[in-house]
């Protein structure tokens, strides 16, 4: 019975959201505000128990007193809410930015730059013709796109020609991205319709 009520509520809210496709109306507004309110409540409880309670209150109670400093930095972030005290929050923000820079910079350089650049290099000996052509197109695309974004030299002559090739690769990439975007949104709509026809109306098995 509980599951049935949940399915009915979900179905009615789904239809309420869909009414926006005709025009804005109170049913849509109600569903939207309900989503915001329930999400805020859910995340507040989740974050409090998974962070403040499990990661601070419990370990400090078990003797890990040094975690209090992390808790103090976290509380200092709330000073952003008042104009007179927001300068205090710069300290935990600075700590966070510095830690994130330490996490990210070496890893990004290794994985997103060096390893990616390495993968554009290939030895054609022994490879099938199709793979050689594929690698060559990849190499041309990477170089041409990088030259398009190189603005220290005026784009004229040979540089202009190569950067135009880069633009073509960029446009192909944007088209593929748009196509995938469409696919993603349609998939979400398919999911909602499958829920309505299968779980709610039981007209599709």
């Amino acid at each position: 019975m509980g599951a049935n009520i949940g399915i009915w509520v979900a179905a009615i809210l789904t239809l309420a959201i869909f009414t926006f496709l005709y025009k804005d109306n109170p049913f849509f507004k109600f569903a939207e505000h309900l989503l915001v309110g329930v999400s805020a409540g859910y995340y507040l409880v989740q974050y409090f128990f998974s962070a403040a309670y499990k990661k601070l209150w419990v370990p400090v109670g078990e003797g890990q007193w040094w975690l209090i400093f992390g808790g103090i930095l976290g509380l200092m972030m709330f000073t952003r809410l008042w104009r007179r005290t927001e300068w205090i929050s710069r300290y935990p923000v600075a700590f966070y930015v510095a830690a994130w820079a330490g996490y990210v910079i070496p890893s990004y350089i290794q994985v997103r730059i060096l390893q990616q650049a390495e993968s554009t290099m290939f030895n054609p000996a022994g490879l099938p013709v199709g793979q050689v052509i594929s690698f060559f197109i990849l190499l041309v695309g990477v170089v041409a796109t990088l030259i398009y974004f190189y603005f220290s030299v005026e784009h004229k002559g040979a540089v202009r020609g190569v950067s135009r090739v880069g633009i073509i690769f960029l446009m192909i990439g944007f088209g593929a991205t748009f196509g995938y975007n469409v696919m993603g949104r349609i998939s979400l709509l398919i999911g909602r319709f499958q829920f309505i026809f299968t779980d709610w109306l039981h007209i599709v098995k």
């Binding site: 998974s50 390495e118 998939s187």
Partner: protein, 282 residues
Amino acid sequence: MTFYDRLMSIDRRVIFLCIGLAVAIPILVPIGFPVQVSQETKSFYNEMAALKPGDVILLSFDYEGDVMAEVDPMAVAVMKQAFSSNVKVVALTTYAGGTGIAERILNEAARQYGKIYGIDYVFLGYNPDWSGTILRLGESFKATYPTDQYGKSTGEIPLMKQVETYRNIALLVSISGSALSEYWAIWAGGRYGVKVISGNTAIQAILIYPYYQAHQILGFLGGLKGAAEYEVLLNKPGMGMRGMDAQSVAHGLMVVFIIIGNAGYFLARRAKRLGRERPAGI
């Protein structure tokens, strides 16, 4: 208003209705379009198939309810392949809203395959700060997750006794609705050398190709189509395959609308140009 202007100003509600019908009708009346399997999906499947009974995978549910329709079929299929091969699963989620989703999928798969919590699978739950979690798991699973989702000490769970760090993980599977698969590849894969495969939403999948091409991610599933392809390889039809008819029809309709829109635009422009070139009085 000319024909071309009418073509360019079709009410968007008509388009919404057409898309809605294009999705709804194939769900109600299946057509049965074939599903071609891509190389990246085959690579994903092969990595899972290479696992031996008793191997442990780390399955990260990196998504919430907003993209459930696209990636849930992937997670379900991964659990089916893992449990049918007697592979053990250590699961976690990097999203607060992912806990309910993960529990549902894990428990349903365990019930279907007769798997026991704590021995065949564990759900570590949600940890705030996903970046710290990914990095710290390389040092110690138990320090990162002192307790599982249900409050039990991870030191007392039988499966967790054989999992100390990433070294004990045969494969890392990230089912993601965001860029988190990339971070698993960057930190867990790049720094600790774990093999990573991922299932991504279609929007994210386009960004995973460079990692796949560079063998940083060894295989991935792209969107609902990727889930359908994976189900074909597993020979276990599910929500992925059921959505493919609707996906194909809706995409075909989108192409038709784009052609109509472009035709209207260029014909209107041409008509205006011809109208300007015509001498006055004619």
